[in-house]
Point group: C2
Chain length 219, copies 2
Amino acid sequence: MQAADPAVRDLFGAMAYGQLVAFSQLAGEARKAPTLREGLALSRLAASELANAELLLQRLEELGFAPEEAMEPFVGPVDAFHERTAPADWAESLVKAYVGEGIAVDFFREISAYVDADSRELVQRVATGTARTEFVVGAVRAAIDRDPRLAGRLALWGRRLMGEALNQAQRVAADRDALASLLVGDGLRPGADLVEVSRMLTRITEAHTRRMDALGLAP
Amino acid sequence: MQAADPAVRDLFGAMAYGQLVAFSQLAGEARKAPTLREGLALSRLAASELANAELLLQRLEELGFAPEEAMEPFVGPVDAFHERTAPADWAESLVKAYVGEGIAVDFFREISAYVDADSRELVQRVATGTARTEFVVGAVRAAIDRDPRLAGRLALWGRRLMGEALNQAQRVAADRDALASLLVGDGLRPGADLVEVSRMLTRITEAHTRRMDALGLAP
């Protein structure tokens, strides 16, 4: 009964809604870009989020799940994340695009280790479609070169993004049994043990640190 | 020397920038949708605007024009249009998506009658990619059914969109000789005569009236 796995519904629903909101948020911020070139780059990144969401929504339908119903439980946590991390300026928008997207991708990729092979393959495909964030690295480094005081504020901002992402992930884990069962197990699945969960969080934190480093920011 | 026609550069630059901003604006408003389904529909409409802009930017490059430079002169008028027509709520967003997009498409299609065949063909292709606005008709009619008082406000809103579009079109015509020469002629082109310009405005106004009618709004 893989096709009707509620954990897959939750995983795809959470990812799809997250990408839909990222699309809307990044596209909206593209208008604040200091140059047309940067605005276009962020617009393209936004469009790739929607394209990824479409793949997940299509798969949800193929699996017999209503896409809107699958996304609905994640509206609260995802919206809360964005309300608490509204970028104050263009540099914060860029860091959020890069760091926020990176955390989300890492997290979903880790989770996908516990679902069936077809679902995992789709998560991997969607997750690697985000190489477009690379332009952000150069843009953030250039902004810090122009105004070195930015580095301190953006470093704090990166930590805040990570903190809020973990907050909302915990909220989801508490509310969504099917999704949580992937990690902690239930009558039907072994799940990961606590050591493995702890290792997973370490891997996600390390990847975050590498991204902050790439941006020239203290993690 | 069709390939280096500055009127084509202006036409494509204006359209592309208009679509880039429409992408950003519509995508940003998708988050305010009352349902996930409507938000997704508006997101898809937004994405089609970016896809159309990409076609124009690519053609500009093929013609030897720098895309950013071609768009730059239209930043002022397009941004001014959007600043003056910021939707107050979801119903206004929908009407703007449908009516604003319709006016822009009609206008650029009319102008394209005066450029070379390849450029005209591209404008037609980009202009017909907007059938996605059709979902708006049902959504606006449903909103008016729920709250009939909306009809009066939205009718005024539609008139204001048309008025602001004409204002900014006049501003562009006054500032951009190459584009204006398509209509009024110069040493190299005959242009349209005044009778034809007047007919063109009548056609655009009539199409606007039909769209308002489709939405159930007094024009």
